[in-house]
Symmetry: C2
Subunit: 198 residues, 2 copies
């Protein structure tokens, strides 16, 4: 049986990082350790937030800080699904929960076109970073042709509401978008009645 | 069409009250004004959180502060449904959204039995208070025999996880309970993509 407790614990501790008046990069570094712990086990994500959509990848909000200082999202990739080249404009963390994800990084030239960089693979339990000004451009895909992959992303904002951009890989032509989220619900992290009663 | 925006606005402003280092009673007083604004309109509560259960009243978590300093709950009463006599042990606010609710207050005698007080009725748009040491014992019921009633409760804790008690009205015999919540999901308050795109 899944228990939401590891996610509740993660949210509580991540929220606490903001009370120590840390810099964004300090929050990202300490937050990466918390995320690594969260994705070190795969028994806590409720089933509705693991469901692939037949036509496009899904991004389920799991938690948004009420002051919108960070958000936690479950990315669910059906076989063959991938993002276009895109940016984020806020710091990000990617923790691999299930399956395998490929990430191709890009750097932007002064003329606005892109140079393709390395493609890396993320395995369950691993965490990678995104940081504007360092590595904010990438293209992410399910590396498995026959299975669902799931990664847990954390961003330094309410990412579903951030105005950002996708790019044509060849020309660098930019198109603004706001991603929103794939569900009108988020998981209830706060029902402690079972664990306390037990 | 319902828009979650009034609830998001409420949660954002209520969270902000805690940053001003106010006392619980100050938070409760200012919070009551925010709740009055929230229940002054009935066009924002998503349908899954308005559904009565055929056998018992429902308590849907709408938001829990990640530091568990407050929680917001939708109480949905089917015709004839009511609580037993119970306490809360934290401050509370009740805002009437739809229908009509009756509240019978009780005071506890030194021997542990209860004296029944007034029964008041709450109409849409009205807000009432609960405060340990002042009025923490009551019995709440749907005052309508043929319709669902809905009230929005705010408490100074994650109320679904608080260990508190129900009482036998005559003998005062106490039974500890932890209420939990009626759903494993809460509404996604944070999808700003529609409003920003519009
Ligand atoms: Fe990305
Ligand atoms: Fe009550
Ligand atoms: Mg009245």
């Amino acid at each position: 049986m899944t228990s939401i407790e590891p996610l509740r614990e993660f949210v509580t501790l991540f929220t606490g990082l903001f009370d120590e008046r840390s810099t964004p990069v300090e929050i990202q570094k300490t937050g990466a350790k918390l995320l690594k712990t969260l994705v070190s086990r795969d028994d806590w994500l409720p089933e509705p937030y693991t469901r692939p959509h037949p036509e496009r990848y899904s991004q389920y909000l799991l938690h948004c800080d009420p002051l919108e200082r960070f958000s936690v999202v479950s990315f669910v990739w059906g076989p063959g699904q991938k993002t276009p080249l895109h940016d984020h404009r806020v710091w990000g963390l990617i923790g691999m929960l299930r399956g395998r994800e490929s990430e191709t990084q890009f750097t932007r030239r002064e003329d606005g076109t892109f140079a393709k960089g390395e493609t890396g693979y993320l395995e369950p339990g691993e965490v990678s970073f995104l940081l504007p000004g360092v590595n904010d451009y990438h293209l992410v895909a399910n590396a498995l042709a026959d299975r669902t992959s799931i990664s847990i992303h954390v961003y330094g904002a309410n990412i579903g509401g951030v105005s950002r951009a996708v790019y044509e890989e060849g020309s660098g032509v930019e198109k603004t978008f706001i991603s929103g989220y794939s569900s009108e619900d988020v998981p209830n992290l706060w029902d402690r009645s079972r664990s306390k009663a037990a």
